[in-house]
Symmetry: C2
Subunit: 134 residues, 2 copies
């Protein structure tokens, strides 16, 4: 899995997400990047679209917001995972933890197969309260 050469805008958006402590909306990213010349939502959305293609960013559907993929924090990029990703989202502090589970993935695969359904993309988001906020 080759590392992608990011454009300037893509790097700026990714950096913003990486340094954030919680998911950011596209418009929040826009505001944070105004000093870097960003003027319009499309600049953000276009960068986000590519970053999602590259697997570097995830969209959280239940928040209309975006996070950097947590595997960026690994030094060993070979861990990069392309199966189903689940997110635990703390409604108090906003913290998001990303996790993968082969068992669950298998379980889902069987379920949809029973319905002769062909999966393109799976969203799993768990809203609740993290350890610190309980």
């Amino acid at each position: 899995m080759g590392t992608h050469a990011l454009t300037k805008n893509q790097s700026l958006v990714l950096d913003t997400l990486t340094h954030a402590e919680a998911p950011l909306s596209a418009y929040t990213i826009l505001d944070k990047l105004r000093d870097h010349g960003f003027r319009a939502p499309l600049q953000v959305y276009r960068a986000l679209e590519k970053l999602q293609e590259f697997g570097l960013v995830h969209r959280l559907e239940s928040l209309n917001a975006f996070v950097a993929c947590s595997c960026r924090e690994d030094h060993d990029h070979s861990h990069h995972h392309h199966g189903v990703t689940a997110f635990a989202i703390c409604e108090d502090c906003g913290q998001v933890t990303e996790f993968h589970d082969a068992g669950m993935e298998e379980r889902l695969a069987v379920l949809v197969k029973n319905q002769h359904f062909k999966t393109e993309k799976t969203t799993i988001e768990i809203r609740g309260h993290c350890q610190n906020c309980t």
Copy 2:
């Protein structure tokens, strides 16, 4: 689980969703109900909010749209299920099938427990292609 006495607006919105063949956005519902006196989005959103509380309607986060809960179609309402619900959403015809699986639920419960996370609400949405559209 007592059956709820729905208000006029709530009934209209629920009927609209029940008779739809695919998820509807709030604004689509609004348009369909203009002849019944609906004029503003809030009339729809307020009804949807209550219907969701009652478990009669689900929101699909990845579509910003709403569906009637499929257990409404059962004659035996005692089946009404309040655990985790997963949705298979066909991107071609829009059809949504709702399903429940104790195994998956269990699996998710264990995963979040390991992270000392307290779940409030779980979203599982599978986008893809249904049997007919393959």
